[in-house]
């Protein structure tokens, strides 16, 4: 019933609007004062443009200034400070250009609004002017590009040999991280070996996998270079660490990498932002399906490299947590694996005797 009344009400309003429009048309037709009306509306539009230009610029500058902290995300990585600097330099240049052109354009629309006593100026071209506004933007852009390209080359350069390596794996709809363990080498993986427990698809015949461990939180040291090795199991995902200005797609079938140095630990950020609950987060920025918006991965940055290494030591190797998988390791290598994975001695004997059962899907 209510819906019906609303529908009828809307129809009534529309009908009234229609009749107002129709009557207005007929009245103007009878009066026949077409010419005057056009010029009065013409000025109205010109004034509205001025109003829009001034109002728009005021709103733009006011909001940008007043809410700066709201949209300016604190930066916490070395290259992030550089790209932020480039961003703000570009912002300064473009805002100046934008403001000037914006004002000039709307000022012209206002100043040169129709006047029946005036004739427009026949001004078809001016080569000097055209060359000037081709060359000037070209030079400004060139300067912006070259500083940007230098930064880009540094950022995408090879990571140093002693960088901390962490593998991040995206899947619908969660992230996991794999740490290389004491040997600092990520073991081989093969997607055909993935099963319910072996979610990394670790190829346990290779010894580097034995001490690799899994983490459901990304732990990073402050002040040491980190190299993220990124892959995806199912569809595209994208690693986005907003405070570190890091973004790189996770692509099934290949590894991508991103190296960076974190400059602020989680506790640094807590005191800087005054928010005792502050946490770094990692998000997915490549559409990956239903749960795309929920792929949050917590990130914790340790205050010192020592803290970070202490955390590394406190983690159990994946193989230690899943000793059943020792069966996949050839018998002669099992002992080495047990030692490397740090598996306690009491459960060893049974495993040692088991036959090798490697299954490829």
């Amino acid at each position: 019933m209510l819906t019906l009344i609303i529908v009828l009400g809307v129809l009534l309003v529309l009908a009234i609007l229609y009749f107002i429009f129709r009557i207005g048309n007929l009245v103007s037709l009878v009066k026949g004062k077409e010419e005057d009306e056009i010029s009065s509306w013409n000025s109205t539009n010109a004034y509205l443009f001025m109003l829009f230009m001034i109002g728009g610029l005021v709103a733009f500058f006011w909001y940008s200034y007043a809410h700066f902290d709201g949209y300016n995300l604190p930066v916490a990585s070395e290259h992030g400070e550089l790209t932020d600097y480039l961003f703000w330099v570009t912002m300064a240049v473009t805002v100046v250009a934008f403001t000037i052109i914006f004002i000039v354009m709307f000022w012209f629309t206002f100043k040169y609004r129709y006047d029946k006593n005036r004739k427009a100026e026949f001004f078809a071209d001016d080569h000097k002017l055209e060359i000037a506004w081709t060359v000037v933007p070209a030079i400004v852009l060139a300067l912006l590009i070259f500083s940007g390209l230098r930064a880009w080359n540094d950022i995408t350069d090879e990571a140093s040999k002693d960088a901390v390596v962490v593998e991040v794996i995206g899947q619908q709809f969660l992230w996991t991280a794999r740490y290389p363990g004491k040997d600092n080498l990520l073991g081989k993986h093969n997607y055909k070996m993935i099963d319910a427990s072996n979610e990394f698809g670790l190829d346990l015949s290779e010894e580097n996998t034995w001490d690799d461990f899994k983490s459901l939180e990304l732990h990073l040291p402050k002040g040491k270079e980190v190299k993220l090795v990124i892959r995806a199991k199912d569809v595209l995902h994208s690693v986005f660490l907003p405070h570190f200005r890091v973004k790189m797609d996770a692509v099934p079938g290949m590894h991508t990498t991103f190296k960076f140095i974190v400059t602020k630990s989680t506790s640094d950020m807590r005191s800087e932002t005054g928010n005792p609950n502050f946490n770094y987060e990692m998000a997915c920025t490549e559409i990956c399906g239903r749960g795309h918006f929920s792929m949050r991965f917590p990130v914790f940055v340790h205050d010192t490299v020592e803290d970070y290494e202490a955390w590394l030591k406190s983690q159990d190797a994946w193989l230690k947590q899943n000793p059943d998988y020792l069966k996949q390791i050839p018998a002669e290598k099992r002992e080495a694996a047990i030692v490397k994975a740090g598996i306690p001695t009491d459960s060893q004997e049974a495993i040692m005797a088991a036959p090798v059962t490697v299954t490829l899907n």
Partner: protein, 629 residues
């Protein structure tokens, strides 16, 4: 000229031909209005289909804006329309949200701003402005529309299937789009999407071939390339870009179809999904991205150039001034058209592509900013010392330049790979391309409708409703897209159903609400336009022959031009299309078909010399002959 002798004969032949055809076509509803081969009818078919799509695309966007702006709202009242796509709590289903985003993008980019814009105005204006009876091949032109229609039907159908339409984003990146187990929309919905797009590409190619052929071969006497209105230049370049880039999308789609249906591995490798490892190995998802953006980036200019051409024409006409720097405008369009093919990978800086390629594409991308800047400066200078009449079309054209400026300038951030790392796939990108390409092109399209409506339907649209429509839309669009810059700088990723899972993205509920409210306002304002459009077709004031005092040839046709456009001889062209406010001239415009010999008072010195050529080039003879008839 070499064609002196031939010309009179061919034109009389044309004339007879036309009269003959005219009789044929009379009275048959099917050949006149449905399977018409008349470019004007086909243009209207494109326009009306495009408008219907724009409405659907707009409504889809308001639906997902409801979710983003008012995440706690109970949308149960939409149950009769959305049915199972609403969760029991009255929220939009997260997967349906992605479907909405995907279809909004697909519809707006391809069905509205490619077919609706190019299809309408290239078809309508090319023959009328170059002085041709019709397109080079009316039949292919007719096919072009009906392929588009068929494609539309298939895409529209996909909205209603139970698993939903394609949902992997309008860029349909595999593996998401290749694997039905990854999301519902990658099942039948994706198949329909691919089929519809394949047909769409056929339609686009048929159209483009026609536009190019017509422009090259069918210009009237005297209509040299340097006398073409900028609209025609724009349509011409657009068609060339389309012909070179759409086949690549076709290839990309075809390989995706193979991967989906025939077990190939062009884009798939090492995938473990739904508890099983797929056999596909050796493919690369990056390959698809390269192929997609090889079309996808030129597509931006396919969408934008016609709008820029249309506004060039409208701004010159309504400033009562020649467009400033005609040659620079053509040159910058040519330059943009060429460069548009070598910048595609700037969409892929952080997709795992080799970073060295990133540097190259940064360089090339920022070069393309130069001709774009030139265009803006030329528009602004055209306004300078003009005598500006704010018709609805003019308002929308100025709106376009404003959007092109606002949205274009943020391209300098995104094209710079180092800065793009943070901004990629955030709302900053959404703000950028909606302003520079979406809204700007949409405004160009609307401006074109207001400007050429009198020629299309022989009646005028209501100007005052046009003003209201403009101001609501102009301010609405800015309110929708400008705040997105802030949201994007804050890092908010796009295609997110909700941000509340993240502390980092927990703010801006207020701005998102504003954006959604503005989106609803903007969509509502379009109904004013729709009313104005339909009402004016039937009840609008009868249009005078040349309502805007314009110089181009279409205004020399009768009020309602029949098939063949000009009842008699096609006018000969003697001058460029921008003789507005020429010093010494009686009126503030001199149409293209007025010879210099008739305007001695306003001729420039080098134009006086052209008078001799006019007398010699045979066109005078033709006129005499016609009189003898």
């Amino acid at each position: 000229m070499a064609t002196i002798d031939i010309h009179p004969q061919t034109s009389t032949h044309h004339h007879d031909d036309h009269a003959h055809e005219h009789e044929h076509h009379h009275g048959n509803f099917w050949t006149n209005y449905i399977f018409s081969e008349d470019h004007k009818v086909i243009a209207k078919q494109f326009l009306i289909t495009g408008m219907a799509w724009a409405l659907i695309g707009g409504i889809l966007s308001v639906l997902f804006r409801l979710q983003l702006g008012f995440p706690d709202a109970d949308l149960s009242w939409l149950k009769p329309i959305l049915g199972g796509w609403l969760t029991p709590e009255g929220k939009i289903d997260p997967e349906f949200y992605l479907a909405l985003v995907t279809m909004h993008g697909t519809i707006m980019v391809f069905f509205v701003l490619t077919a609706g814009l190019s299809g309408t105005f290239s078809n309508f204006l090319i023959p009328l402005q170059i002085g041709a009876r019709d397109m080079a091949s009316g039949f292919m032109n007719m096919l072009s529309y009906w392929f588009f229609f068929l494609s539309s039907v298939i895409m529209f159908t996909s909205l209603f299937i139970s698993t939903g339409p394609a949902s992997g984003g309008w860029v349909i990146y595999p593996p998401l789009s290749a694997l039905p187990q990854a999301m519902q929309g990658s099942g039948l919905g994706m198949t329909l999407w691919l089929v519809a797009m394949a047909i769409f590409i056929a339609s686009s190619l048929l159209g483009s071939i026609n536009y190019i052929t017509t422009v090259i071969n069918m210009r009237t006497q005297g209509m040299s390339f340097t006398r073409l209105p900028l609209t025609i230049w724009a349509f011409f370049f657009t068609a060339i870009i389309g012909i070179l880039s759409f086949p690549v999308l076709f290839a990309a789609a075809l390989l995706l179809i193979f991967d989906r249906s025939f077990g190939t591995s062009f884009y798939l490798s090492d995938i473990y999904i739904g508890g099983e490892a797929l056999p596909n190995q050796g493919g690369s998802p990056i390959l698809f991205q390269h192929l997609f953006w090889f079309l996808g980036h030129p597509e931006v200019y396919i969408v934008l150039l016609p709008a820029l051409g249309i506004t060039s024409e409208i701004i010159a006409t309504n400033s009562r001034k020649p467009i400033f720097g005609y040659k620079a405008m053509v040159g910058s369009m040519l330059f943009i058209a060429i460069l548009s093919f070598v910048v595609w990978a700037h969409h892929m800086f952080v997709t795992g592509m080799n970073p060295f390629l990133g540097s190259i594409f940064t360089l090339l991308t920022l070069i393309i900013a130069v001709p774009s800047a030139v265009k803006i400066f030329n528009y602004v200078t055209t306004l300078w010392k003009g005598n500006i009449r704010f018709t609805a079309a003019m308002l929308f054209s100025i709106g376009l330049v404003s959007f092109f400026l606002t949205g274009g300038i943020t391209g300098i951030f995104l094209g710079n790979s180092a800065i793009d790392i943070q901004l990629h796939d955030t709302y900053f990108v959404v703000a950028h391309f909606h302003l520079v390409m979406g809204s700007a092109s949409f405004f160009g399209m609307v401006a074109g409708v207001y400007h050429w409506f009198p020629k299309m339907f022989g009646r005028m649209m209501d100007e005052k409703l046009g003003y209201i429509h403009f101001w609501l839309t102009f301010i609405g669009v800015y309110l929708v897209f400008f705040p997105m810059h802030y949201i994007g700088i804050a890092g908010f990723p796009r295609r997110y159903y909700s941000w509340t899972n993240f502390e980092t993205f927990s703010g801006f509920a207020d701005l998102n609400m504003l954006v959604s409210a503005a989106a609803i306002l903007t969509l509502s304002a379009q109904f004013i336009f729709l009313f104005n459009f339909i009402y004016s077709i039937f009840r609008g004031k009868a249009a005078p022959a040349n309502p805007w005092n314009s110089t181009t040839l279409e205004w020399t046709t009768p009020r309602n031009p029949g098939h063949g456009n000009w009842p008699g001889e096609i006018p000969t062209v003697y001058r460029w299309p921008y003789d507005y406010s020429k010093p010494g001239a009686k009126e503030d415009f001199i149409p293209q078909h007025i010879p210099y010999s008739e305007t001695p008072e306003s001729n420039l010195p080098h134009e006086n010399e052209l008078i001799k050529l006019e007398l010699n080039n045979g066109s005078i003879t033709v006129e005499n002959k016609d009189q003898k008839h």
